[in-house]
């Protein structure tokens, strides 16, 4: 009846994101968890203090290769707030379209990763193949599949011409068909849903206490979506509601994200046609008085929060609170009293993005010599002899 300690997917520079969870087992039940992050720390907040405002968005969007627009539009908002300018109407529409395309590709990537980790490689392939569509659309709009470089203060750099809007509309139809098919495959696959149902439950009360954001909050029944607060983009001009579920288990989180994809498609369809007018803003900007502002955006994983203490030409201090940072804290709650075999599903279900989070942590890592297990090995039950 001894305590067993299992490091889960412990840090190794492998294909998967660097992460280190320690799980303490007693009688086959998870009794405690520990989390170590920081292996991806690049010092971006400090680097930001060395960049003038015109160079800043290029650095900030490279925080993360999955939600780069969420970061660059949040920092644009923060700087715009500091300088007292408002983005023009067309730019707000373009930002929203790009943000939704980004959400689609991010959720598809997540669904692929979850399917792969739980051993459903067919869906992994389908999902990633479908993901090429939004990526190609993004390249069509911005010139790059991942870091779009669209951010400007008060506007965006590239226009979505009517001709491109036509392509967008057609491609969206395709993405929708593929996603619907995938959803169907998923919900009819009992083996798959069984691995998620009633696993890692996070009650609404707990979710509120911990302060989770994004799809994790929505799956626990909290109606929280920054798009509805009108902090960024053109969402106030269209009609939609946040997708929520009540149960708060891994299955709900999967459903919320899959429905989010469809909703994002609908949102873009509502945003089209993009109003005519000027889309360009300013690249270079100067701020008269040092001022403290914030910028927010709904990233695919939840609310992305940038606090900016703006100096004249450069930030004096920038603090970034990405969504995964808020969501990490609920892992302990979800995993407690569960089985070790469910741990990977739980971790994946919050869609952790370590690149966003690993910016501000002091790490005290005691070397663990136990054999390291990947998610895959645990799901397949190879940890039995541990």
């Amino acid at each position: 009846m001894h305590n067993l300690q299992i490091p889960l997917g412990s840090y190794h520079p492998l294909m998967k994101d660097p992460e280190h969870f320690k799980i303490y087992l007693q009688d086959g039940k998870i009794v405690d968890t520990d989390l170590f992050i920081g292996y991806n720390h690049r010092g971006i907040e400090k680097l930001a203090e060395m960049k003038t405002y015109d160079k800043l968005p290029y650095l900030i969007e490279r925080i993360c290769g999955i939600c780069s627009n969420a970061h660059s539009s949040a920092i644009s908002r923060a700087v715009e707030n500091a300088a007292g300018i408002e983005p023009n109407k067309k730019a707000r529409y373009i930002r929203s379209v790009v943000a939704e395309l980004e959400r689609i590709q991010s959720h598809l990537l997540w669904f692929g990763t979850q399917s792969h980790s739980l051993g459903f490689d067919e869906l992994f392939k389908d999902s990633l193949t479908c993901r090429e569509h939004p990526l190609d659309l993004l390249e069509k709009i911005s010139g790059s599949r991942i870091h779009y470089g669209l951010s400007e203060f008060g506007g965006t750099k590239k226009d979505i011409t009517p001709e491109k809007q036509g392509v967008l509309k057609k491609e969206l139809g395709e993405i929708r068909a593929l996603t619907e098919a995938m959803k169907e495959d998923f919900s009819s696959n009992e083996q798959y849903t069984h691995k998620l149902e009633n696993i890692g439950v996070l009650s609404k009360k707990k979710a509120g206490e911990i302060g989770v954001v994004g799809p994790v909050a929505k799956a626990s029944g909290i109606n929280l979506d920054m798009r509805l607060n009108g902090v960024n983009g053109a969402y106030s001009e269209i009609d939609f509601e946040a997708i929520t579920r009540k149960k708060g288990d891994c299955l709900s989180r999967t459903e919320v994200r899959l429905d989010d994809i469809i909703q994002s498609i609908e949102i873009i369809e509502q945003l089209l046609p993009i109003p005519k007018g000027k889309h360009r803003g300013k690249g270079r900007i100067e701020i008269d008085e040092p001022i403290k502002t914030i910028g927010r955006a709904e990233a695919p994983r939840g609310e992305n929060f940038h606090y900016l203490h703006a100096g004249k030409k450069k930030p004096l201090r920038l603090r970034i609170r990405p969504p995964t940072y808020a969501n990490f804290m609920c892992l302990h709650e979800m995993a407690m009293n569960g089985k070790i075999a469910d741990a990977p599903a739980i971790v994946i279900s919050i869609d952790p993005c370590f690149n966003c989070t690993d910016r501000m942590c002091v790490i005290d890592l005691d070397e663990n010599t136990e054999k390291v297990r990947t998610f895959h090995e645990i799901v397949e039950g190879k940890d039995k002899d541990a």
Binding site: N40, L47, I63, T129, G283
Partner: protein, 232 residues
């Protein structure tokens, strides 16, 4: 050895060392069927001992320096190393950070550098084929690039006034301009392909070609004087 009609297998081992994940995802995408018109099969190795080609993304920070060293020591002697993306090559936009211990070529000799931020999946495949099978080096069909795509720079000497505005505006200090000698060069190993230089140039002397195959075997060769008159 009997003739093997099936595709040649290439075992790659991927090390992610604190990049932004962009290149890692593009590497993942390059394994997709969409890009499958190649004469070899990519296999992802789970253990460093199996590696034929090691692919490194990210600029290596002090937290994972030791782990990278350990992993590299476990890889076989004859393995090749590929540095992916500008942060894998030079640190890119993260250059100058207090937590920068890399890039990889401080530790090991790199066999192939693939610029890009992120790298194009097609570029990874072309570079891989050049590396493992140089005799019948094979190129993927020209991918359909969008007209906005930013590849290697075009630089029109007849237009350039060597004012240095592009160099001053570049977020990762990739451009060198020498007014006296009238020389202009960009370090593709540092460039983010962000488009800022094209935007600020007062005489439109810079544009972007659609050349994404910028991989080179030597670091120095990544300095480009820009293509000229390459159509968009």
């Amino acid at each position: 050895m009997p003739e093997d009609t099936s595709k040649r297998e290439v075992w790659i081992y991927h090390i992610n060392t604190s990049g932004c994940n962009g290149c890692d995802i593009e590497l993942l995408a390059s394994i997709l069927e969409k890009y499958d018109s190649r004469p070899f099969d990519i296999k992802v190795a789970n253990y460093p001992e199996e590696a034929e080609v090691v692919m490194i993304t990210g600029h290596i920070n002090w937290n994972n320096m030791n782990a990278v060293k350990e992993e590299m020591n476990k890889t076989p002697k004859h393995r090749k190393i590929m540095a992916l993306g500008n942060c894998g090559i030079s640190g890119g936009v993260f250059k100058g950070s207090y937590n920068e211990a890399g890039p990889i070529d401080k530790l090991e000799e790199v066999d192939m550098y693939i610029p890009g931020c992120p790298v194009k999946p097609e570029a990874i495949l072309n570079a891989l084929s050049e590396l493992v099978d140089p005799e019948n080096s094979f190129k993927l069909r020209e991918p359909k690039l969008s007209e906005n795509y930013r590849g290697e720079h075009n630089h029109y000497q007849e237009k350039c006034i060597y004012c240095g505005e592009c160099a001053r505006s570049c977020p990762s200090n990739a451009i060198k301009v020498d007014r006296e000698k009238k020389e202009w060069a960009v370090d593709l190993g540092k460039c983010l392909f962000c488009g800022r230089c094209e935007e600020v140039c007062p005489t439109d002397a810079i544009s972007f070609s659609n050349n994404f195959d910028m991989y080179k075997k030597e670091r120095e060769a990544l300095w480009s004087k820009g293509k000229n008159n390459e159509s968009k």
